[in-house]
Symmetry: C2
Subunit: 249 residues, 2 copies
DNA sequence: AAGGCGCATTGACCTGGATCAATTATCAGT
DNA sequence: ACTGATAATTGATCCAGGTCAATGCGCCTT
């Protein structure tokens, strides 16, 4: 329950020590989730040199904006981010939420410009990977290229799943799926799969799932009434994740 | 109007000559849309050797099925394909349509298994790129890796756009956007942006856009009544693409 | 040319979730 | 501790687009 009331930024503790210091990749607590995985240690040392480490962002601060030139890919170090695409009429779609070890900005490689906006959801930090350097290194480190492609492919695969969710699932299924996806990601990062903080607003969740805020709010209440979850503000606890799993469709 | 009544497979003529012969990449009419773009000619010759060329598929025939091991990426040579993701309850989402020069199967790299199904929409052919070989070559041809990443990134970027469409657009906006996207792709391939054949069924279109078949059918009729398009079966002609552009939102 | 089958169209009706509106929490800043 | 702003909840109503049902149209097969 202590964790439920913990209002410090998500994952802060995970990278607490490293946050202020320029710790090397191989000492980083995110190592096994991150890009360098599988590199030889001399290659890793090389990579280490080009990474701009632990840049900090506060809640709402943009990591990059739409239509700015592409320079770097970012890896979340601590905290969390959201990405959105906008239409000229102001409508926008939250295309993803990003947690430590996840990559942001890969969809900009082709156009050589960011086609989305990334914003911090809380106090967060990233490692910046200058893409040009990454390419240079790739020439001598095929393993790095494989890793990069693998990452791109993973996001692609996730996007297809999201397309299914947006196109075919009901509101209930959407929200259940979303909660379990978060749960799994928290678990992968060594946190409780049962209790965590939602760093994004109800509005962000609704937008991401193609729903209205009111619908999300009502569903949270209903899920709680039905004993599936326990939610209080940003603190959520998955009481019956089996039932939740069934609701995913 | 002749083209409207042309019932031969889409793009057949584009790759007609090459279709039966094992023509080299640099002689291929799709060259400027395809992977080898930007490779040095000796690298290209190498690549040429590993490509399994012009395999043919008939309407409805699967290129690969969900959960089969990942071996190759495919490039459409002629005709067209659709990809779908399925849920256990039978629901499925058409995640994309693919035309000559476009890549299929890139979302399988990470999982090392296809997580979607690809089916030919008409008589079609592909070039198969064995991924393992592609990786080997990548070690000595950084340019190839860049191309691959660029491709992956392009699809990623397209998927985000599709997410916006699925999550935020009205039925009318969805269909208008879809038609113009097709139009642009036909144009890129040297065909008329105004008149073309829809190789996919109304059902496929509806599914892809997160709509019911009936809605798509009604919209086609309405667009025609309003003088925006001319449609007769699979043959469509964009009469007022400016107005159509306005409808995209 | 007749029958059959899948696809497409059209009409009538219904509903899940959006929208509108009114409170009520929550929280950041002083 | 107070306060204004922003986010979240809850209720009432509405409508875009889904569902159901009937019919029409190619197109293939014999």
């Amino acid at each position: 329950m202590a964790q439920l009331n913990n209002v410090t930024p998500l994952f802060k503790d995970l990278a607490k020590v490293e946050h202020e210091h320029n710790i090397a990749c191989k000492e980083c607590s995110l190592y096994r989730l991150c890009l360098p995985l599988g590199l030889h240690s001399n290659d890793l040392a090389q990579l280490d040199k080009i990474i701009k480490r632990s840049q900090s962002y506060t809640r709402g601060q943009p990591l990059f904006a739409t239509d700015t030139p592409f320079k770097s890919i970012f890896v979340v170090r601590s905290g969390s981010f959201k990405t959105t695409v906008q239409a000229s009429d102001g409508r926008e779609q939250v295309t993803g939420f990003y947690f430590p070890g996840e990559f942001i900005g890969m969809d900009a490689i082709y156009e050589q410009a960011y086609k989305s906006t990334a914003k911090a959801l809380e106090s967060s930090s990233v490692c910046e990977l200058p893409f040009e350097k990454l390419q240079e290194f790739g020439a001598t480190m095929p393993q790095l290229q494989v890793q990069m492609m693998s990452r791109l492919s993973k996001e692609l695969s996730g996007d297809k799943t999201l397309m299914f969710l947006l196109g075919k699932k009901t509101a209930e299924e959407k929200l259940a799926t979303f909660l379990l996806s978060l749960s799994r990601r928290f678990q992968d990062r060594g946190f409780s799969a049962r209790e965590f903080q939602l760093s994004m607003s109800r509005g962000d969740i609704a937008n991401h799932l193609g729903l209205a805020v009111e619908t999300v709010s009502r569903l949270f209440t209903r899920f709680q009434d039905e004993g599936l979850i326990n939610i209080q503000g940003k603190a959520i606890s998955l009481v019956d994740s089996d039932k939740l799993k069934q609701l995913c469709g």
